[in-house]
């Protein structure tokens, strides 16, 4: 099981249902794609995030009706600094896909997906708590794991592992 090099060329990935579906309906949303270690990752333009996720969720060719996971990665000090990562799952086609959105490090914010999946609410609160990314339209954006009066966002790369003392 030697590692295959990652495929990042959009042209050679357009046969994949998710890519084909996005290219057919809203090509402006798809920024980049990568196929690596049997996992497909799509980068989506943050402006079109909700529409694109809704399309992937409801389209009969993709059927990614389940949001399996929602998290973020901090690429400090590069800019845009954050990537919010959505892991979608299709019960019909037994397949996963990873959707990524780049978020700027200056006043980071992104649309909330709680309108599509109510269960995303605590996941977005967790990302807000630990990364400081705001989710526009979230009904109850408060800290969830850290105490309410905590300063800073611990999972940011410029936050020391042992904390501030």
């Amino acid at each position: 099981m030697a590692l295959q090099p990652a495929v990042t060329d959009l042209e050679s990935l357009k046969e994949r249902p998710a890519v084909a579906c996005l290219l057919a309906t809203m090509p402006q949303a798809l920024v980049a794609a990568k196929f690596d270690r049997d996992e497909l990752t799509l980068w989506i333009d943050p402006i079109h995030l909700i529409e694109a996720l809704n399309l992937l969720r409801t389209s009969s060719s993709t059927t990614f009706a389940v949001l399996a996971d929602l998290t973020a990665v901090d690429w400090f000090p590069s800019e845009p600094r954050f990537e919010v990562v959505y892991s979608l799952l299709s019960y019909q086609r037994h397949e996963r896909i990873r959707i990524k959105v780049k978020v700027s490090g200056v006043d980071p914010s992104i649309d909330s997906v709680t309108t599509l999946w109510a269960g995303a609410s605590p996941f977005e609160r967790e990302v807000f708590d630990l990364f400081g990314i705001r989710f526009q339209g979230h009904p109850d954006l408060r800290r969830i794991l850290m105490p309410d009066d905590w300063e800073g966002h611990p999972l940011r790369k410029d936050y020391p592992v042992e904390g501030y003392r």
């Binding site: 099981m1 270690r37 399996a68 990665v73 999946w117 630990l130 611990p154």
Partner: protein, 405 residues
């Protein structure tokens, strides 16, 4: 408003209706919350109007700590997330790292992993069944369940030297081969355990008090289950026919034969039946693993990743060098990212590991099933009686270590 819309708009602690309702604080030191869960219950007499979980009391920053450790040093952290299913967490993590490395493990290691992973599921379900029944008022079941759990913990101690925090799986295999006499012990256990499941079942399944406390209680529909991102037995009790072991096989589950119990009622009793069915399937899977267990090595042939045997270390210079390098510098993992989901006793346990090409993971995220399943508590408890809240908590089988990480 459907139940789910209500859940979306429950931001504040203030009561909806002035004097009519009161807020009752439950936990974080309540014996029926299975740890340090705090629930804010807004009640109107005996009826629950709204529920708001308050979590984070057990948050230890495991995800942050992982970023400061070598890949192999993360394994002991994974045990401490879901302390009732340590092997499942070990498995999810090592599978993720093996996928990043493109590493294959020998068949004997694969079968041992499968066997112990299913034993872990039995262990976790036994604790769930015992404490769930105890919460509702059936004391005896608890004592029976912990009798068998003790046997499983003994087996964990035999293989790993630890009863709970096993850290037995390694990237590239398992830490060492099974001890002498272990197979006889587990064969004996697998032979008598199905009868013990019947014992628990005799105490509860047709028990009128049990049925009265669980049937029609804490309902959740299939649509709500998908919307709220539920997984595992909690979702299967509502008719979501999905099990990662069957539908997206990992770690060799495609070589086992098993059924996935699914119930459609969506109440506490349905979730109870799903888990009881899983106990029977798991013990049958353990038996299959014992039968199929081949001889051979238990570690992959990858000297730069897997620690060498003690024997080789003392006779071969090269092995000594590898050992020194792995222990002091770790092993590097090629750049990339993977998400590995496994079916833990509670649902989908996912490890999202990002590598930047160094010996320490750039980011480790655990998608823990309890964290997502706790979503359901609001919808389950609303308009139910206060006394049913403990039944609902027991039925989603949360582990607070898993929720807070």
């Amino acid at each position: 408003m459907s139940s789910i819309d209500q859940f979306r708009s429950v931001p504040v602690v203030e009561t909806i209706d002035g004097d009519r309702t009161m807020v009752l604080n439950m936990g974080p030191q309540h014996p029926s919350t299975h740890g340090v869960l705090r629930l804010l219950l807004e009640i109107d007499g005996e009826t629950v109007v709204r529920v708001r979980p308050d979590i984070g009391f057990l948050h230890t920053g495991i995800e942050k700590t992982c970023e400061a450790k070598f890949y192999q040093q993360v394994i002991p952290m994974t045990d401490r997330i879901d302390y009732l299913a340590p092997m499942t967490n070990n498995l999810a993590y090592v599978l993720a790292v093996e996928k990043l490395l493109g590493l294959e493990i020998p068949p004997r290691a694969m079968w041992i992993r499968l066997m112990l992973n299913e034993l872990t599921r039995i262990n976790s379900h036994l604790v769930w069944l015992g404490t769930h029944a105890l919460d509702i008022g059936a004391m005896t079941v608890f004592l029976y369940c912990f009798r068998e759990r003790e046997e499983i913990l003994k087996m964990f101690e035999m293989v790993a030297g630890q009863r709970m925090m096993t850290s037995y799986f390694r990237v590239g295999g398992i830490s060492m081969d099974l001890p002498l006499g272990f197979l006889d012990y587990i064969k004996n256990f697998a032979n008598y355990f199905p009868d013990r499941i019947d014992q628990y079942s005799d105490l509860l399944t047709n028990n009128p008090i049990w049925m009265g406390r669980t049937k029609g209680v804490a309902l959740i529909t299939k649509e709500d289950a998908i919307q709220l991102m539920l997984s595992g037995p909690t979702a299967r009790g509502s008719g979501v026919d999905w099990d990662l072991r069957r539908d997206m096989p990992y770690a060799g589950y495609d070589k086992l034969e098993f059924k996935v119990p699914v119930e459609t009622a969506g109440d506490v009793y349905a979730r109870y039946q799903v888990r009881m069915g899983e106990l029977r399937e798991s013990i049958s899977m353990v038996k299959q693993a014992i039968q199929n267990l081949p001889d051979g090595p238990v570690k992959a042939d990858a000297p730069k990743i897997v620690l060498p045997d003690r024997e080789k270390m003392k006779t071969q210079m090269e092995s000594l060098i590898h050992h020194f390098k792995i222990v002091t510098e770790g092993f590097t993992v090629p750049e990339g990212e993977v998400y590995q989901g496994v079916e833990s006793p509670r649902g989908e346990m996912g490890y999202y590991v990002v590598s930047d090409g160094t010996a320490k993971p750039y980011r480790v995220h655990m998608r823990s099933p309890s964290f997502a399943n706790l979503n359901a508590i609001g919808v389950m408890c609303e308009h139910n009686l206060l006394a049913d809240v403990v039944a609902a908590i027991g039925s989603i089988d949360i582990i607070l270590g898993d929720v807070d990480r």
